[in-house]
């Protein structure tokens, strides 16, 4: 009995270590800029600051284009998510409901496309966008993100749609519904968990992307948060303290939003691997 108790204690110690490992850096990013001046430097290693000060946050928000970056990021991530959901539902629907040649080729090329090095795609993509006249636009950036999110969406919803029984759809047709109506009113509701997983994944990919943003967007008014914050960091016009405030202003809303959809994100990330 005593041995059992000890291992229970050990388990909680280990769990606590995992908590510290995962969350301490995030805690530190949020708490450090809140120390204000001069606490940021003087109390830089104190676990819990004695007084809080939001000056750095206000500086960051007012002296830089941070609000613009924020807006852009939401526009890009929002449209990437919507387009991914719609396009991948449509493609997956056709793939699961009709029999035609080249289907596997299509699915596999999506897979390969997804594995290509971002650098390989991003550089020619810039050339293509220049000739299309959409370089340095939010639409262009959103399209670039779809290169990553669409294959994920198609694969995920493809495996989801395969499990939706055909009878359901057929009985809707018998009742006089068209294919599109049946898809939207009967099948889509059943797909919601998968769609949310795809949506969460697409939003996070698009919201956090730096590589494509760096290549495609150059003007100040079109920068997203990662690109903008990196540019501020490079320009060294602001102190580490303000940068930390900027980082905290990204983390806090992300973590809060994420806490509502953790389940779906984990599901999306792992659903494939287990079956394999």
């Amino acid at each position: 009995m005593k041995k059992l108790k000890l291992s229970k204690v050990a388990l909680y110690v280990l769990a606590f270590l995992v908590l510290v490992y995962s969350f301490f850096p995030i805690y530190w990013i949020i708490i450090s800029p809140l120390r204000g001046n001069p606490g940021f430097f003087e109390q830089s290693t104190v676990l819990w600051p004695t007084n809080f000060d939001v000056t750095y946050f206000i500086n960051m928000w007012n002296t830089t284009n941070f609000p613009v970056y924020y807006k852009n990021s939401f526009i890009v991530a929002g449209s990437t998510t919507c387009i991914t959901i719609i396009a991948s539902t449509f493609i997956a629907y056709i793939l699961t409901r009709f029999r035609f040649k080249g289907k596997n080729l299509l699915l596999n090329s999506m897979l390969v496309g997804y594995m290509l090095p971002p650098m390989l795609i991003a550089i020619p993509l810039l050339g293509i966008f220049i000739s299309l006249g959409i370089e340095d636009t939010l639409i262009g950036l959103s399209l670039a993100h779809i290169a990553i999110t669409l294959p994920f969406g198609v694969w995920m919803l493809n495996s989801f749609l395969k499990t939706v029984p055909f009878d359901l759809e057929e009985s809707a047709w018998v009742d006089g519904a068209s294919r599109v109506q049946a898809l939207l009113l009967v099948i889509f509701p059943l797909l919601i968990p998968g769609v949310i997983s795809v949506g969460v994944f697409s939003f996070i990919v698009s919201f956090t992307d730096y590589t494509f943003g760096l290549m495609i967007v150059s003007s100040e008014g079109n920068k997203t948060i990662p690109v903008g914050l990196a540019a501020i960091k490079e320009s060294t016009s602001l102190q580490q303290s303000e940068l930390m405030a900027g980082a905290a202003m990204i983390i806090v809303p992300m973590v809060i939003l994420f806490s509502f959809v953790t389940k779906y994100f984990i599901k999306g990330l792992t659903s494939g691997a287990v079956k394999g």
Binding site: L11, A15, V18, L19, Y21, S22, F23, P25, I26, W28, S44, T45, A87, F90, I91, I94, F98, R99, L111, G113, Y114, M115, P117, P118, M119, L120, A122, I123, P124, L143, A147, I148, L150, P151, V154, W155, N158, K162, F166, R179, F207, P226, L229, A230, K233, Q240, M244, G246, A247, I251, F258, S259, I266, L269, T270, G272, A273, V274, K275, G276
Partner: protein, 340 residues
């Protein structure tokens, strides 16, 4: 941010016979099929297929920018590449980075997954928390960790200073690669953790119970049951993480920019520098294409090895099963003898 597991159900494509929801195409379905497929596939073609083709064709040209007129040089870029010592050094550095980051991610990921697979209060909460490093943008990771690792004000240096090792310059020429690996492990380990964890949940408890009855301790249970059962998942995780780490651009670029003294310059960074800073767009494409080829070769070797090597793991398992059978047999003999 990247990541999802690709090995969706391959098997289902080979699925033949039985119930199928696929229908042959009717003529009246054609407009619908086109309307559903064309927009999405057009975008996919424009942003993935065409660029990869362009990348290859760019590599045969010499161009200083995207707008100027390029000159066709055939294999000149590739000849230059083979003689480019900086390129080969970067191949090595990329390999070192990817290899150490992936190995550590696997080890740390498995350990955390094993902990998160136990029963304790707040487990679901901790599972959620453990994903957070994976979803935050890389720029936040670098800004935050630069402060945490700061030589004068960083909390890490403060803690190791208590043991007399303070004042470490984590971004110095000798330490930068180590630091980049450290950050990569912290941010991207949750992928390993989650996929491994979801695999763990599929292993039946009976296996462990019978092993325990045989007197196997936790350590033996891990090596003889958990690992062999997770073999396929593990192979895939390593492949995916390896791909992603080999291609990683943002973390290195934001943390060190390839410096100091080019010590952390990896292939994606060299590609970027050629294209945008050294104004050699054609050569940049050559570097990108060549790194993709090198990656492919490493991938094929890896797949070849893992398709042969698992025998070792399974043979271990078989030996264990075999031993167990003998043991059971002996036991029953023993029991019978006693009864007699």
């Amino acid at each position: 941010m990247e990541g999802w597991s690709v090995i969706n159900d391959w098997s289902s494509f080979k699925y033949k016979g039985g119930f199928s929801i696929e229908r042959r195409i009717n003529k009246r379905d054609v407009p619908l099929i086109l309307a559903f497929l064309v927009p999405g596939l057009t975008v996919f073609t424009v942003v993935t297929v065409v660029p990869s083709g362009f990348a290859v064709s760019y590599s045969f040209y010499e161009a200083s920018s995207f707008v100027g007129q390029p000159t066709f040089v055939l294999f000149d870029n590739y000849v230059a590449l083979i003689q480019d010592q900086r390129f080969w050094r970067d191949v090595w550095q990329t390999f070192i980075y990817a290899f150490s980051a992936v190995s550590l991610q696997i080890v740390v990921g498995i350990i955390i997954a094993l902990i998160l697979n136990q029963h304790f209060k707040g487990r679901d909460f901790l599972r959620g928390v453990s994903v957070v490093p994976y979803i935050i943008p890389v720029i936040v990771v670098t800004i935050g960790w630069e402060w945490i690792l700061d030589t004068n004000f960083g909390v890490v240096n403060y803690v190791i200073g208590l043991f007399g090792f303070g004042g470490v310059h984590f971004l110095s020429a000798n330490m930068a690669m180590f630091t980049a690996v450290l950050l990569s492990v912290w941010t991207w380990t949750p992928f390993v953790t989650l996929v491994f964890l979801s695999g763990l949940q599929t292993i039946s408890n009976e296996l462990y119970e019978s092993a325990r009855l045989d007197g196997a301790n936790s350590w033996q249970q891990f090596w003889l049951i958990t690992l062999p059962m997770m073999k396929d998942i593990l192979i895939t995780i390593v492949l995916l993480r390896g791909l992603w780490m080999f291609n990683k651009f943002d973390l290195m670029w934001l943390l060190t920019g390839g410096g100091p003294l080019e010590r952390t310059e990896t292939l994606p960074i060299y590609t970027y520098l050629n294209t945008f800073n050294l104004n050699r767009v054609g050569y940049g494409a050559t570097v990108a294409v060549s790194s993709a080829v090198i990656m492919l070769i490493i991938m094929l070797i890896y797949l070849k090895i893992t398709q042969e090597a698992p025998e070792k793991l399974t043979s271990k398992k078989r030996k264990y099963k075999h031993n167990k059978k003998i043991e059971m047999h002996n036991q029953s003999l023993h029991e019978r003898n006693e009864r007699l």
